[in-house]
């Protein structure tokens, strides 16, 4: 049985922990609102861009001389997975979920006899991946200095990935991030970004835009060649934004839980403390009374 003093100290420490988690929750809530509006502001651009790329891709015939970003390298042996996670922890299962999705995708590819390597954005996924897939991390982008992801960051990641793609270091690039559904639901997603694979949604939207007779300047292929690298950067940028929003959402939920748990713990400890105090008083009284009676 802990002494009264020890209990009191314990209650004090849980209380200060609760203060911290409460503060973190509020901060996360405030930042979430920012991140969420950023993520929403970024959606029209990436949506339009992928629509256009899909409609253009439907118009040209993919041959050996078409851009490699869309036609692929003719092989799908070497895969790169760009893993976008967060730089900070204390966000519940946020990073774990991303890593788990990555792991599943990677295991599947390795099972098919493919080579898989990783490119890390955000340092939290690094230790786990290093342990699970030693020696497969081929690069990373340091995001520890950035507060909010900017397009420049995404461009830096994209140009690094593109440069290595052009050097022929890999054939297929996937992007793993957490899709921000709502504050409570973040969905870890692994998308293929190189070569471009028109998703079902954009493929369905494509015929409507393609039906009109559109004049292209310069021509379809030149436009496409210009847009594809941009598309990669934009997809990465979108992933970073979604991640950011998802991270704060996840952190807010986690900190809310922690605050509530701390509250429960304080209640339990207080009850224990009061019981012991009372027991001590009772014992003391019994001692005094029995002492008086003995006289």
């Amino acid at each position: 049985m802990a002494s009264l003093k020890a209990l009191k100290l314990r209650i004090g420490s849980v209380k200060s922990t609760q203060k911290i988690t409460k503060a973190m929750k509020m901060v996360a809530a405030a930042k979430l609102r920012r991140a969420q509006s950023n993520a929403e502001a970024g959606r029209p651009y990436s949506q339009r861009l992928s629509d256009v790329v899909a409609s253009l891709a439907g118009r040209i015939t993919i041959g050996p001389e078409s851009p490699r970003l869309i036609g692929g390298t003719g092989s799908d042996q070497r895969h790169l997975i760009v893993v976008a996670a967060s730089d900070r922890g204390l966000a519940g299962a946020f990073n774990t979920n991303i890593v788990r999705a990555v792991r599943r995708a990677a295991d599947e590819l390795i099972g098919q006899g493919k080579d898989v390597s990783f490119f890390i954005v955000g340092r939290k996924s690094r230790p786990v991946l290093q342990r699970l897939f030693p020696g497969r991390i081929s690069g990373q982008h340091d995001t520890s200095e950035m507060k909010n992801p900017t397009y420049a960051d995404a461009q830096a990641v994209a140009s690094e990935v593109m440069r290595r793609f052009e050097n022929g270091e890999f054939d297929v690039v996937h992007l793993a991030y957490s899709n921000f559904r709502s504050v409570l639901a973040q969905e870890p997603t692994v998308d293929q970004i190189i070569p471009v694979r028109p998703s079902a949604a954009t493929a369905a939207a494509a015929p409507t835009t393609a039906s009109a007779v559109v004049e292209y300047e310069p021509d379809e292929e030149a436009i496409l060649a210009d847009l594809l690298p941009r598309n990669v950067a934009v997809q990465i940028y979108r992933a970073l934004l979604e991640n950011q929003a998802g991270f704060y959402g996840s952190q807010m939920t986690a900190m809310d839980n922690a605050t509530r748990n701390a509250g429960d713990m304080i209640n339990r400890l207080s009850i224990q403390y009061n019981r012991q105090r009372q027991a001590a008083i009772t014992t003391e009284l019994v001692e005094i009374i029995s002492g008086a009676e003995a006289l």
């Binding site: 950023n38 502001a41 970024g42 029209p44 651009y45 990436s46 339009r48 861009l49 256009v52 900017t150 397009y151 995404a154 835009t209 009109a212 007779v213 559109v214 004049e215 292209y216 300047e217 310069p218 030149a222 436009i223 210009d226 847009l227 941009r230 950067a233 934009v234 940028y237 979108r238």
Partner: protein, 86 residues
């Protein structure tokens, strides 16, 4: 004549969405003006200035844009630029 639906979007935000009279866009192969009813058209952009005429004869608003493309469709003109500064 009806106004032209004009949207200028960067990856970071929607810079402008308005009904305007005419927009002059710096395309890769030369500047071109778009008014309502323009034929479907798509081009990449070069770095340059976008001139937005809110009404006929008004002084244009100039917006510096860089990298991206412009699309004219039934829904009007959409400019997707990587950078845009008024």
């Amino acid at each position: 004549m009806a106004d032209l639906r004009f949207e200028l979007v960067t990856p970071e935000r929607q810079v402008m969405a308005a009904d305007v009279h005419m927009v002059v866009v710096p395309g890769t192969e030369g500047e071109f003006g778009v008014m309502a009813g323009h034929a479907p058209f798509m081009t990449t952009l070069r770095d340059g200035e976008l001139a937005v005429y809110r009404t006929a004869g008004a002084t244009p608003e100039r917006i510096t844009v860089g990298g991206g493309f412009a699309e004219v469709g039934d829904r009007g003109l959409t400019v997707l630029a990587e950078r845009a500064e008024a």
